[in-house]
Amino acid sequence: MQIVLVKSNQPECAQAASCVADPAPAGRFGPALLTLSGVLAFALLAPMAGVALSTWLLALLASYAAGNRWLPAALLACGLTLLLLAVFVLGLQVPFQLLPPVLMPWLAGWPLPALT
């Protein structure tokens, strides 16, 4: 899917009463790099730190890269993580290793649902 940019100072924008804002100056690689590093961090961390924490970190970095400040990004990351893990684990029954495997012996006696 292509994203089409319409500058808000173009005449059709005023006529349409609906358009997108001016794009930020081109050549900003920071957000793209941050998002990419979030994906790589997930790939490195997921087997060791579990999917839940890795997803939160990925969502945090992707959300910050998309223009949110750190605190809203952290809150958004919590919401996205809970929502999407619920969809994947409860809805689609994907057997993710949610928590770090190193914690599993400690959590053995806790009344938690099966996490793997």
């Binding site: 994203i3 089409v4 319409v6 790589l40 997921a46 998309a66 994947f88």
Partner: protein, 484 residues
């Protein structure tokens, strides 16, 4: 067709159409990437329900794109660019509702006619394919690859380079002739080759997000929709363009590399040529909405004919669908018609249901879909990134595949920046192994005699068409350089 099966398909058709409309409306993730992400989920479904779900996504994306093209001149999919020309001008004249209804009805007409054509043509093509040997199939695959580069590509050299890159990606894995690892760099994860899901989601999903990190943000204004139901005269004026668009779209869609955008463009050109009042074009012509919309829907559905009949995908979305067939252990082609004829019947009914679902879902809910565009990018892109990563990880539960996703995302981003087409990469990766397998078997049957291959029924005619296509391509390139 029993009512029980029809009811069983209604759910996947409705869900697929809804998801497709959603990805058609929202920027950032296209139908091929969405279908790739749904592959693991579709494994839990019956084969026919899974195929109908994925088809619904593809058809829905074409429809969702036209909604935003008409109301906002913001096509979510490439095929909507043509509809945006006349459709948005109608919206500016206060006829947005009529343009949307005509687009929907033209798409429905094209969808139903295409379903009938797919039902009639595909078994015939599959029967024809039964007499083909591996040499014929290899020649057809070669033709498909060359046609992809020659037809509808602005930059043929770039398209060829991307096709070769795709072929290289398709070579990674275990050599199925001798069992030796190829381009695996000693990595056990690459022994099974590079998965289609990280490739497609990376190139089309993550790559798009990375490329869009430039501050794009939709406003919350929505153009007034106005009167929705067209007058009888408007319906009558749109019928012939919709029928012509269906014909053009279906023919283009069956060609390898036939794009929905190309079908829409050809339909608009045809409508301009046959119009009695050509002056209406550029000021909001209903036929400029009906024709291209019918054409892109017909083209999307016509891709099922070579896919189901011959096992040849015509675009990345069809390549994902081929992956879904493989996941369910179904080989498209004559074997499928022999072993599970009920599956083809279910797919046709699923196509009809998905098209009906699109009308039911979309016309009354147009305002809701467009309002989704007001979602801030700060919410939309993290959502797309996390869904992409979790979708890829859920499929194989290999962190390595997420690394591949990042790699292909970066590649997609860089190639977009350099204006390279991405679809040929997927083509090369999918068609390469099919070509290699058939060519090897053909040589084994012919005991290594290359001339023996030319005696196969389809090889020489296909190579002739291929030569004509290459000559035409060279001639067209020469004309464009000379500015003719």
């Amino acid at each position: 067709m029993n009512l029980e099966l029809l009811l069983a398909l209604a759910g996947p058709a409705l869900l697929g159409a809804s998801l497709g409309t959603l990805v058609g409306v929202l920027p950032g993730i296209g139908p091929a990437a969405t279908m790739a992400l749904l592959l693991p989920a579709s494994f839990a479904l019956e084969p026919q329900a899974a195929i109908v779900l994925l088809c619904g996504v593809y058809f829905g994306a074409q429809y969702g794109s036209s909604t935003t093209a008409i109301l906002l001149k913001l096509p979510g999919e490439a095929s909507g660019v043509v509809t945006a020309e006349e459709g948005h001008r109608l919206a500016l004249k206060g006829q947005a509702g009529v343009a949307l209804a005509i687009a929907a009805l033209a798409s429905l007409l094209a969808g139903l006619l295409s379903a009938a054509l797919v039902a009639g043509l595909t078994p015939w093509l599959a029967r024809l394919a039964l007499g083909l040997g591996p040499a014929d199939v290899a020649a057809l695959v070669l033709l498909a690859a060359v046609a992809l580069v020659c037809i509808g590509q602005r930059q043929r050299r770039k398209a060829l380079a991307m096709l070769l890159l795709g072929l290289l990606i398709g070579l990674v894995g275990t050599d199925f002739g001798g069992g030796a690892p190829r381009f695996t760099f000693g990595l056990a994860e690459l022994r099974d080759g590079i998965g289609l899901v990280p490739l497609i989601v990376g190139l089309f999903g993550l790559g798009e997000v990375l490329a869009s990190h430039a501050g794009l943000r939709a406003s919350s204004h929505i153009a007034p929709i106005g009167r929705l139901w067209p007058r009888r005269s408007e319906l009558q004026a749109s019928l012939a363009p919709a029928l012509r668009g269906t014909g053009v779209g279906f023919v283009v869609g069956m060609l390898p590399g036939g794009k929905t955008l190309l079908a829409s463009m050809m339909s608009l050109a045809l409508e301009r040529r046959v119009a009695r009042d050509r002056a209406q074009y550029g000021h909001g012509a209903l036929s400029g909405v009906a024709g291209p919309e019918a054409a892109n829907n017909a083209s999307a559905q016509a891709g099922l004919v070579p896919l189901i009949g011959l096992g040849l995908p015509g675009n990345p979305a069809m390549a994902v669908l081929l992956g879904a067939f493989m996941l369910h252990g179904i080989a498209p082609g004559a074997v499928m018609f022999e072993r599970s004829p009920e599956l083809f019947e279910a797919i046709i009914w699923g196509m009809v249901l998905a098209n009906l679902a699109l009308i039911v879902l979309n016309l009354p809910l147009i305002g809701v879909w467009v309002r989704l565009l007001a979602l801030p990018l700060g919410l939309l892109t993290p959502l797309i990134v996390v869904i992409s990563v979790l979708g890829v990880y859920a499929q194989s539960r290999l962190a390595f595949d997420v690394g591949l996703l990042a790699l292909f995302g970066l590649l997609g981003y860089l190639l977009r920046k350099a204006d390279y087409p991405l679809a040929p990469i997927v083509f090369g990766a999918v068609l390469g192994p099919i070509f290699e397998d058939n060519l090897r078997r053909a040589f084994m049957h012919a005991r290594g005699d290359g001339m023996e291959l030319l005696t196969q029924p389809l090889v020489l005619p296909v190579l002739g068409v291929l030569l004509l296509l290459l000559l035409w391509s060279l001639w067209a390139g020469w004309r464009s350089r000379r500015g003719v």
